[in-house]
């Protein structure tokens, strides 16, 4: 398979910098503006794109992403529409990895086999499904990997050394470290605590590690980028959409540029991420 995710993290390692992973919700604030937001992300500085598949009951998300999902659903977004967005994006960009992120029910409802076929066809590189822990790997993770789609695992502060191996067993692409116990968009973990957690996890895996949940400012992004392979920003971007719905693409691009500058300021060119 092509594997845009591996290629992207290889390049980041060669360039000795951390990546910026941006989360936006597909269809927010409306389908047309959402397509513009997506198309502009690579130019603004996104190294990897997480595209939210909106769900009516986002249990692991804070108010910003909850509202974003509801805006998208109100504007008529469907899973089929999200896959079509990816396909359209791919016709103009064959390098930036796209990871679909969301909850299992819309995929289960669409049909796992049909979803994987359509996602592969659209050019989806990976999946993050919040409510599918390793204990449920046979549902989607194993079939997805058989299609060449990475299944990105979440590890959290409650994922201890005993549990890490089962979390990592079928993980691929990269590992997403949730820096806090909590929902998205609330707060960010202390950077030294995060650094300690990353060191612990790296003893178990060579997968690149992205860190997210609650990173809002270029300064926070910069601190996390000292040790993480990539920094994930989501709630801050969808809040920008909420504040400027009529000009969301420009607002998101501007914020992504600032965040990217923060990430790039983190490490000197001679220092690798892995101390």
């Amino acid at each position: 398979m092509s594997n845009r995710i591996d290629a992207r993290f290889r390049r980041l390692a060669e360039e000795r910098r951390a990546g910026l992973v941006t989360f936006v919700t597909a269809g927010d604030p409306n389908p047309a503006e959402s397509r513009r937001i997506l198309a502009d992300l690579p130019r603004a500085g996104a190294d990897v794109i997480e595209l939210g598949m909106p769900f009516s009951d986002p249990m692991a998300d804070g108010p910003a992403i909850q509202k974003s999902s509801l805006r998208a659903l109100k504007a008529g977004q469907t899973l089929a529409g999200t896959l079509a967005m990816v396909a359209e994006f791919r016709s103009g960009d064959d390098a930036t990895p796209i990871v679909l992120m969301g909850y299992y029910n819309p995929i289960f409802s669409y049909g796992v086999d049909r979803f994987l076929e359509d996602a592969t066809g659209a050019g989806v590189d990976g999946l993050i499904v919040v409510d599918l822990p390793p204990e449920a790997d046979s549902e989607l993770c194993v079939p997805a990997r058989a299609c060449g789609i990475d299944f990105i695992r979440l590890a959290t502060p409650t994922t201890d050394d005993r549990r890490l191996p089962s979390v990592l067993r079928n993980a691929s692409g990269f590992l997403y470290y949730v820096s806090i116990t909590g929902i998205t968009g609330t707060r960010v973990g202390e950077s030294d605590v995060v650094a300690g957690a990353l060191a612990r996890i790296r003893a178990h895996t060579t997968l690149p590690i992205a860190v997210g949940f609650g990173i809002r400012s270029p300064e926070q992004a910069s601190r996390i980028a000292e040790t993480a392979d990539a920094v994930v920003v989501g709630s801050a971007l969808v809040s920008a959409v909420e504040q400027t719905p009529e000009n969301a693409a420009a607002a998101v691009s501007e914020l992504v540029e600032e965040l990217k500058a923060g990430v790039l300021s983190a490490r000197g060119a001679d220092r690798g991420g892995r101390a």
Binding site: F55, S56, D57, P58, M59, A60, G62, P63, Q66, L70, L73, T78, L79, A80, Y103, Y104, N105, P106, I107, F108, S109, Y110, V130, D131, L132, P133, P134, E135, A136, R153, L154, A155, T156, P157, T158, T159, D160, R163, V167, V178, I180, T181, G182, I183, T186
Partner: protein
């Protein structure tokens, strides 16, 4: 599980009832759920756990609740002999307290110091606030803003009991959103917090442990009906929100093939209108709140709003064991409308001097359809699982009466 011999051996070790159930939760919660499972497994093998549970049910809750023959309802319907299982006489006025006693004992064993819960009608919230007061633990109850409006008396009761009631303004502002919010709280407070789920739903092991705590209902009925009539009942009827009072009544009888079991869902304004809460009658399988079960959802897998005059039945899902019992055909599931439930509420009050909650009024509304065609020696037991004091304002409004 060997389905040919027994309907009572589920769930399997991964929490499945057939293809339903399971553990569909975020990674942050997985270690907690596995921990809860291990503690519950140990507790359920521990005599002292059950003796403490039974002692509290007897001396604090007031169990056993009576099994009462309903002479005037029986006469009015003119068929089956109708008994009520009087769980509305429990302390706090519903079956919900049975489960809360069990879960707070578990929380104490696990050395948790803070309790959270979701509530719809407020009955589970009141029961949780009550056991928290009894054991001196801080309690936060999530309740949708819509439900807060229609269940004011219970909101005040919870506050009197020392609980913090946090209004939930997300989504449809009812039970499902309260459950989302409780899960969000739990994810953020993993160290000290125990989540007391109020029905046989949620990730494994909740559906199993809530059922086990509620099974006291059916176990008592088995003894009481044999004492009264010298034999097992012919039909059991219970209302279904998430399904805990029904599962508690049915489970001890699942392997008695001659006992007919009927669950009554909330048909709201009528299943054909789309404004209802009848997940088994009109939903399809999906994944929500940690388990796979029947859900009200649209073509895109988005969860639909549920509608019922009864806040306690206003949930777009149903416990996974019911989903399985539906598919294998052991339990029949039907629905009745708001209007039918209201009529049953009034009938029960006028004829038996018992003010039922709107939830079991649904069960009675189905009994009204069923009983007339049954012979006089047909023994029918209905779970009168809650009292209606909390509902008088909603009923007054529905009847156009100003209080």
């Amino acid at each position: 599980m060997d389905q040919s011999n027994t309907f009572r051996s589920g769930p399997d070790e991964d929490g499945h009832f057939g293809t339903y159930g399971g553990r569909f939760v975020a990674e942050t919660l997985m270690p907690l759920i596995l921990d809860l499972e291990a503690h519950y497994a140990a507790a359920s093998r521990d005599e002292t756990f059950w003796s403490e549970f039974n002692d509290l049910l007897k001396h604090y809750v007031g169990r056993p609740s009576p099994l009462t023959f309903a002479p005037r309802i029986t006469e009015r319907f003119g068929g089956a002999k109708i008994y009520f299982k009087r769980d509305e006489l429990n302390h706090t006025g519903a079956h919900k307290i049975n489960n809360c006693i069990g879960q707070i004992l578990l929380a104490r064993r696990m050395k948790k110091t803070r309790i959270i819960a979701e509530t719809g009608a407020g009955q589970h919230g009141v029961a949780t606030a009550t056991v928290c007061a009894r054991f001196g633990m801080p309690c936060t109850v999530y309740m949708g803003e819509t439900d807060i409006e229609r269940q004011q008396p219970n909101v005040f009761r919870m506050r009197l009991l020392g609980a913090e009631v946090r209004p939930v303004s997300s989504g449809t502002r009812t039970l499902k959103d309260a459950m989302n919010e409780a899960l969000r709280d739990w994810v953020a407070n993993v160290e000290d917090t125990f989540y007391i789920i109020g029905t046989v739903a949620g990730p494994h092991p909740y559906p199993a442990l809530v059922r086990d705590f509620q099974a006291v209902i059916g176990n008592e009925v088995r003894e009481q009906i044999v004492e009264a009539e010298g034999r097992l009942p012919d039909t059991l009827v219970a209302c279904i929100g998430g399904g805990s009072n029904a599962m508690g009544l049915f489970h001890p009888f699942l392997d008695d093939p001659d006992v007919r079991l009927i669950g009554v869902e909330a048909g709201g304004e009528g299943v054909e209108t789309g404004r209802h809460a009848a997940s088994l009658t009109a939903g399809r399988p999906g994944v929500l709140h940690g388990n796979r079960t029947y859900l009200l959802q649209n073509d895109d897998g988005q969860i639909n709003d549920a509608h019922s005059i009864s806040a306690g039945l206003d949930y777009p899902g149903i416990g996974p064991e019911h989903a399985w019992l539906h598919d294998v055909g052991r339990v029949e599931y039907v629905s009745v409308t708001d209007t039918e439930a209201l009529a049953a509420f009034q009938l029960c009050t006028e004829l038996e001097g018992i003010l039922p909650a709107l939830e079991p009024s649904h069960a009675l509304a189905h009994v009204a359809k069923l009983a007339p065609d049954l012979p006089a020696d047909h023994l029918l037991v209905m779970n009168l699982c809650g009292r209606g004091d909390k509902d008088v304002f909603s009923v007054a409004e529905a009847l156009g009466v100003e209080l």
